[in-house]
């Protein structure tokens, strides 16, 4: 026969129906102590703890009236129905009514004790000792097996290495816990001196923290000569040691931070101070060096040797200018001189005489030359004329057979000058012939 296979949903649905069908589970009254009530929206969630046995059940109060005060540890009577949540697989009480049946017995006692100790002034601010900022020896009173001691040590050494930690191992819950805690505080006060004591433990149920609500422990902390930090549970857990201690740490980790916080910060500060000092002194030196350089430069500029150089340069410049202006003056004077010389020479009698003489000589020369030229020309002309004359000498012509006839001392050139019987003289080259004209014929032809 095959076994039936269930799905989870089938099972939870089945259980839900079973629970819902059971009339005994409807509108029941339930008595217990409220554990960790939390409000989420309009709904209140908490656990109800059995007053004698270790048993709990989850409760939810929908549309909870916020005016009702439901505190952790309150003893209450609730009216509601048991329901089974098929999605979560859990039983819950759906609360319809909640009635406070008085504070938990423990809580009442605690309140009374707190009130008594407060009246005595144990929690007064004036008794608080200052927590040393730079402790080198730290005492811890807690269980060596707890999470708290690890949290404290981890925190301390992660922040600052150079401290000594003394752990006094003790129970932190149970009947002997208060005695052992007191022993630890006593030990550090009498046997092994430390600068600050951390007393604490990790979080736990309200009753787990009861050792730290113990009157003996509270009084021991009050009597401690050494400052005490209370470090119990979580932030929302308040115990009496928190009130009596010189300082309350919200958690054991926080206690670790407190005891080395300043030293850790001091290291950072020292580092920062050193850096800032170095930066400042370097800046100072640099600016002074710059200043010095500037001064040296100015000093050099104003030193005698550079003054001499500067003066020499000035002298050079001035002498140059002087020479230039002298030269200029000289030049202009010499120009004037030249002009004057020229003008003077222009009026020099000797020079004028010489010049006149030269002029005279030149004129003489020119005259001579002109005369010579004239003479030569005339001579030449004469020669020409002479030659011409020679050429025209009638005797020469006569020699060649020609003759000249003259009549009455007149040269006969035409027949018309002659008449018959005229006496004519014919000149030949070597004498004369006297003749009488027999006839005259005109024309050349014979």
């Amino acid at each position: 026969m095959a076994k039936k296979e269930w799905s989870v949903y089938e099972l939870t649905s089945y259980l839900r129906k079973k629970v819902e069908m059971d009339v005994l589970l409807k509108n029941i009254y339930l008595k217990g102590e409220v554990i960790r009530p939390t409000l989420s929206g309009d709904h209140l969630y908490f656990e109800l703890k059995d007053l004698e046995y270790d048993a709990k059940v989850k409760c939810v109060y929908f549309w909870f009236d916020k005016r009702i005060e439901v505190r952790h540890g309150s003893k209450v009577l609730i009216k509601g129905s048991v329901i089974f949540y098929e999605k979560e697989g859990i039983i819950e009480i759906k609360v319809n009514e909640i009635t406070d049946i008085g504070l938990g017995e423990l809580f009442v006692k605690l309140k009374q004790l707190e009130e008594k100790l407060r009246q005595e002034g144990l929690f007064d601010q004036k008794h608080k000792k200052e927590i040393p900022q730079y402790p080198k020896r730290i005492g811890i009173v807690t269980s060596k097996n707890g999470a708290a001691v690890r949290d404290i040590i981890n925190t301390i050494y992660s922040k600052f290495e150079n401290v000594e930690v003394y752990i006094f191992n003790c129970s932190v819950q149970g009947q002997s816990a208060p005695f052992e805690i007191c022993e630890g505080i006593e030990y550090f006060n009498k046997v092994l001196p430390v600068e600050v004591i951390i007393v604490g433990r990790g979080g736990g149920a309200f009753e787990d923290l009861m050792a730290f609500n113990d009157e003996m422990v509270v009084r021991k902390i009050f009597e401690s000569e050494i400052p005490v930090i209370s470090a119990v549970g979580h932030e929302r857990d308040y115990v009496l040691t928190d009130f009596v201690a010189d300082l309350r740490a919200i958690t054991p980790t926080n206690a670790g931070e407190i005891v080395v916080g300043f030293q850790n910060r001091a290291l950072e500060m020292l580092d920062e101070y050193q850096k800032r000092m170095k930066r400042a002194i370097l800046k100072k030196i640099e600016s002074d060096a710059e200043n010095l350089k500037h001064k040296i430069y100015r000093l050099y500029q104003n030193s005698p040797s550079s003054k001499v150089i500067k003066l020499a340069q000035d002298v050079n410049l001035l002498s140059g200018r002087l020479a230039f202006s002298i030269n200029k003056k000289l030049h202009s004077v010499s120009t004037i001189l030249k002009i004057l010389e020229k003008r003077l020479s222009d009026v020099n009698p000797y020079i004028r005489f010489t010049r006149a003489k030269n002029h005279y000589e030149m004129l003489c020369k020119r005259l001579h030359t002109a005369f010579e030229d004239f003479r030569k020309r005339k001579e030449f002309e004469l020669q020409l004329k002479l030659e011409k004359l020679i050429a025209l000498n009638p005797l020469n012509i006569l020699k060649r057979g020609y003759s000249v006839t003259i009549h009455n001392s007149e040269l006969i050139t035409s027949v018309k000058q002659i008449k018959v019987d005229d006496e004519i003289v014919t000149r030949l080259s070597d004498g004369f012939i006297r003749s009488k004209v027999l006839g005259v014929q005109e024309g050349v032809d014979e």
């Binding site: 040393p132 900022q133 730079y134 080198k136 020896r137 269980s143 060596k144 097996n145 707890g146 999470a147 001691v149 690890r150 040590i153 050494y157 290495e161 150079n162 401290v163 000594e164 930690v165 003394y166 752990i167 006094f168 191992n169 052992e180 022993e183 630890g184 030990y187 046997v191 092994l192 001196p193 600068e195 030293q263 001091a266 290291l267 500060m269 020292l270 101070y273 050193q274 800032r276 000092m277 400042a280 002194i281 800046k283 100072k284 030196i285 002074d288």
Partner: protein, 87 residues
């Protein structure tokens, strides 16, 4: 304890003085000589403070009562082994 307390006072004074020195060096209204003197003092103080801060070595001691006697056990080299199992 007394020595430590004095050290603490010295340390805090030294830190305070150091802060003053840093501020006056940063303000820069000092002659070079003054600045160098202050700087030397500051470095000396910061060394002193460092020495004070570092004067103690890490040390973890577990004290337990065994058979009515208090026993101190140095567990520096094996802190968590010395503390036992985590709960």
């Amino acid at each position: 304890m007394c020595g430590d307390a004095q050290n603490n006072i010295k340390f805090e004074d030294a830190m305070k003085r150091l802060e003053e020195i840093v501020k006056s060096l940063e303000e820069g209204n000092l002659s070079l000589d003054e600045a160098i003197d202050l700087y030397e003092e500051g470095i000396r103080l910061s060394k002193l403070c460092n020495e004070i801060l570092r004067s103690v070595e890490k040390r973890v001691v577990l004290i337990e009562k065994l058979n009515g006697e208090y026993v101190e056990d140095d567990i520096t080299n094996d802190i968590y082994g010395g503390l036992g199992q985590k709960e």
